[in-house]
Symmetry: C2
Subunit: 362 residues, 2 copies
C-alpha cells in the first residue's frame, strides 16, 4: 500500500494538488461478486453482502465489491464457471454444488458423520485442508476461502414417522451431495430438486420427504405446512460451509494487503455467519413447535447406525477412487476427522451434553 | 482513509514530492500490546502475536503493534490497569482475570454449564453481549473485542479417582473464577495459584487436585508426572475466551478503517485460535495416554448433577446481585444460554454424538 500511496502522492505533486482526487480514483478496483442466492434470501444473501461490504470498508474503498444475486448476471449454479472464466471476479456459494466438477470438492462442504463447521475450518487453517483446496481450485483458475456457513443441517421433513432403516427404504427423499450417496446405499430413492420446487413436490406427493437446510431457511419455504415430523440431526451434512472464491488472475493482481483483507474477512465471517444460523434456527424451532404443530424428533439410533455403516462404505470407495486428488483429500479428511471425533466428548460435545438443566432466567 | 491520503498528497504537493516519505511516516501509529502470557507460551502468546501481526499487515503498516509478554512492561495481571491508564494502548488477556474489577466481566470469559466458545461469540455478535461488554469496559476507559480462546477446559488432574460428590468434599483443588464458586458450594476448598506454582503444590501435596487449562498447556507444566487421573469435560469452564482490549482514547483516535481492522482481526482469530487448541489438545491426549500412563476419565454423572445444582444456586445469586450490571448480564446470558442448550442436541452436539464409528484412514 505504501507504494501505491507514494505513486499517488507523486502524481499529485507533479501535476498540482487539484489532481489528487483522480489519482485516488485510479487506485480503486471494482469487482463483481455473483452468488448462488436469490437477493434477499435470509442468511445466505446476508452473509454474501456482509462479506462484500466488509472487504470494501476494510480496504478504505480501494477494493469495491458489487453483489449480484442468482440470475442477475449468471444463474445460481453458473457462478463457478463465470468466475473461472473471468465473467465476474468473485463468487459466494457452497462447495457442495461442485461435486460434478470434482468429487473431492464436496468434501470441503459437508460429509456424512464428518466434521462440524468449526472443526472443518480448523482443518482448513491448521490441518492441510487449505492447501488441498487451493490445489484443486487452482486447476480451474480460482482462489478461494471458506467463510462459515449454515452449520449442521437437519435430517428433513417426513410425512410419516421413521423408526428403522426399513422405514427409509423406498422413500423418495429430496437431498444433495454425499448425503444423497449415503441414503442411496440404504435404499432411499434420492431426488435432486432446486429449493424452490421442493414444497410443491412434497405437497403433491411426488416426494415423500425432503431435506433442505434447517429450521430458519426451511420455515420460509413452508415445508411445515405439508409434513409435520421434523428430524434432526442431519447426520448427512454436519458442516455445510460457504465459500468466497476469486478469479485467480484477478486475485494475483491484488497488492498484498488487499489479498490479506479478503482472507481475513472470510475468516471473520466464520462464527458470525454460522451463529446467525444457530440462533435463528433455535428460535424457529420454538416457533414451529409452539405455533405450527410441528413435532421435532431425533433420528432413531437404529437409523443412525445404519447410515454410519453406509458412510463407512462411502469412505472406502473414496479411498479407492481412480482420481488421486480424491484419494488425497479423503486421506487427510479421515485422519483429521477421527482425531476430532475422538476428542469431542472431552470438549465441545461433553460440555453441551452436560447442560441438561435450564438456568433461571430472572 | 481517503481523508488521510488526501492530506498526505496535499502536503507532498505543497512542499515537493521529496517529502512524500516523511508525510507517510506521520501516518504511522505505533502501539504497545501488553499480554498476560510469558513470551513463548504455547497457544496464548502465539495468538496474541498473530493478532498483532495481522493488524499491522492489514493496515499496510499504518498501525504497528509491538507485543510485550508478561513482565516486560507490566506483570501478567497488570495489563488491564496499564491499558486503562494509557501505559500501553492494547492488551491481550482473558476476561476471567477481571472478576475483582467487576463480577459481570467474568461472564464474558466462561461460566459453569454455560456457553461454548462459538455460542459465546454468537452472543457477542448477535445476542447483545458486545453492548453489555462495551458498557462495562467503557467505565474503565477501555474498548475491546473477544477473539477466540482456549476452548472448553478440562476438569483437572486428580491423584485419586472421584465418583461421587462426597469424594470432592474437602479436597483442596486449584481452579479459578466462577468454576471456583461452583466447587465451593459442594464443599471443595478452592485454592488460587498462578500457573507456575501449581506443579510444586500438586507434587508436595499442598493441593489434592488441579485444573489449569487443557491437555496442550497442562502437559507443558508436567502435571501428569504427579497425578494420573485426568478428568473431562471441565463443566466449570466451557468457553474460556480471550480478549483484545484497547485504551478507549487511543481507539477513538483511530480512523474508521483502522477501527474496523482491529475488530475484524479479532473476529478472524475466533476459530483459528480455538481450533489450534482443539487440535493440539486432541493430539496431546493421545500422547498422554499412550506414553505417559495417564488415564483420561469422564466426570461421573453424579458429580455433574451435583455441580449443575450448585451452578443453579450461583445463577440465582447473580440474579439477586446488588450491582444492576451483574443482574443485566446474567439476565441476557441465561436467556441466550437456554436457547443454545435447547438447540444443541439437534445440531452441534447431535452431530458430534452420532460419530461413534471411526472412518477408515486409507
Amino acid at each position: 500500500m505504501h507504494r501505491r500511496k507514494f505513486l499517488g502522492a507523486t502524481a499529485a505533486a507533479a501535476t498540482g494538488a487539484g489532481l489528487a482526487a483522480p489519482a485516488l480514483a485510479q487506485d480503486r478496483i471494482t469487482w463483481d461478486m455473483v452468488t448462488s442466492w436469490p437477493t434477499g434470501a435470509p442468511g445466505l444473501d446476508d452473509s454474501a453482502r456482509r462479506i462484500a461490504q466488509r472487504i470494501t470498508d476494510l480496504s478504505g474503498g480501494r477494493l469495491v465489491i458489487n453483489v449480484h444475486g442468482a440470475g442477475e448476471i449468471v444463474p445460481a449454479f453458473g457462478v463457478f464457471d463465470a468466475v473461472s472464466q473471468g465473467v465476474a471476479q468473485m463468487y459466494h456459494s457452497v462447495p457442495a454444488y461442485w461435486i460434478s466438477k470434482n468429487k473431492a470438492i464436496g468434501m470441503f462442504g459437508s460429509f456424512p458423520f464428518g466434521l462440524t463447521m468449526f472443526e472443518h475450518l480448523g482443518w482448513m487453517y491448521w490441518g492441510g485442508g487449505q492447501e488441498l483446496y487451493d490445489k484443486i481450485y487452482d486447476g480451474f483458475g480460482l482462489k478461494g476461502y471458506l467463510a462459515g456457513g449454515t452449520g449442521p443441517q437437519w435430517f428433513g421433513w417426513f410425512r410419516n414417522e421413521i423408526n428403522t432403516l426399513d422405514d427409509l427404504r423406498g422413500l423418495r427423499i429430496r437431498t444433495t451431495g454425499f448425503a444423497g450417496e449415503m441414503l442411496n446405499k440404504v435404499g432411499v430413492a434420492v431426488v435432486t430438486l432446486p429449493g424452490g420446487e421442493v414444497f410443491q413436490a412434497l405437497q403433491s406427493g411426488t416426494i415423500d420427504a425432503a431435506e433442505f437446510v434447517g429450521p430458519w431457511n426451511d420455515f420460509a419455504f413452508g415445508f411445515h405446512q405439508v409434513a409435520k415430523n421434523y428430524y434432526a440431526p442431519g447426520v448427512g451434512e454436519p458442516s455445510s460451509t460457504e465459500e468466497v472464491v476469486m478469479n485467480a488472475s484477478a486475485y494475483n493482481a491484488l497488492p498484498d494487503d488487499l489479498k490479506l483483507i479478503v482472507k481475513t474477512v472470510a475468516m471473520s465471517a466464520a462464527v458470525e455467519t454460522t451463529m446467525d444460523y444457530e440462533i435463528n434456527n433455535a428460535k424457529t424451532v420454538r416457533l414451529l413447535t409452539s405455533e405450527h404443530g410441528v413435532t421435532v424428533r431425533t433420528v432413531p439410533q437404529a437409523i443412525v447406525d445404519g447410515l454410519a455403516a453406509a458412510t463407512g462404505e462411502l469412505v472406502q470407495e473414496l479411498h479407492a477412487d481412480s482420481d488421486p486428488v480424491v484419494r488425497e483429500v479423503i486421506g487427510s479428511y479421515a485422519k483429521y476427522r477421527n482425531l476430532m471425533a475422538e476428542y469431542a466428548p472431552y470438549a465441545f460435545a461433553g460440555e453441551m451434553n452436560a447442560r441438561t438443566q435450564p438456568f433461571a432466567e430472572g
